[in-house]
């Protein structure tokens, strides 16, 4: 499903966003990055991040502990 997985578990704001941006830079357009985070703030952060950068937040869910985001890199 995802082309690359970024494990940002245990990291706090703003590290998940910074690492996601770096990982997205290394992907080709259309590829999907999966981000795993334990920071509850990352939900609002990734929504705002995708809105601001134009990347697509394809999917997000949460199994109680870990938040999972699928972000598609858009040109």
């Amino acid at each position: 499903m995802a082309d690359e997985v970024l494990d940002a578990k245990g990291l706090n704001c703003p590290l998940p966003i910074l690492k996601a941006k770096k990982a997205l830079n290394g992907l080709d357009d259309g590829k999907v990055l999966e981000v795993l985070s334990t920071d509850p703030g990352s939900v609002a952060d990734f929504e705002a991040f995708c809105r601001a950068t134009g990347n697509e937040l394809v999917e997000q869910d949460n199994d109680g502990e870990v938040y999972r985001f699928l972000i598609k890199r858009v040109a």
Partner: protein, 138 residues
């Protein structure tokens, strides 16, 4: 000290400049968090370091935080929060102790160190400028 990057940004790109004037551990966080996060959101960011903020550009950072003159600073201690009276803050060694405690807390909670944030800022093309006048002054 003044580092000029030759990054091409579109003229309609959003830009942000942060003036950093303080060089203590607690004051170092807000500008670096704002700068790195804005850069991740495609904002063209410049950080201008002047007066004590210039310390933040040093290769080896030995940043400290002091409870002296900071009534809002409380630290978790033995399951509760403790505010240190100013008198205690004056005792030699208390600043070092508070700094070590703060750094341990930062590490424990998975918050980035200033060194990490500064490196992230460099990697995400944040422009950092050191104030020449301050360099000449101190």
């Amino acid at each position: 000290m003044a580092e000029e990057n030759s990054i091409k940004v579109p003229s309609n790109a959003k830009k942000m400049t942060i003036i950093c004037t303080k060089g203590s551990l607690d004051w170092a966080y807000p500008p670096f968090i704002l700068a790195t996060t804005a850069a991740a959101m495609d904002v063209d960011v410049t950080m201008f370091f002047t007066f004590y903020g210039l310390q933040l550009l040093k290769k080896d950072l030995k940043l400290k935080v002091t409870p002296l003159g900071n009534p809002a600073m409380s630290m978790p201690m033995g399951g509760m929060h403790m505010v240190m009276p100013n008198m205690v803050g004056m005792i030699p060694g208390v600043t070092d102790m508070a700094s070590v405690m703060m750094k341990n807390l930062i590490k424990k909670k998975g918050v980035a160190s200033i060194e990490e944030l500064r490196e992230a800022a460099t990697l995400s093309d944040v422009r950092m400028i050191g104030c020449q006048m301050t360099l000449d002054l101190f």
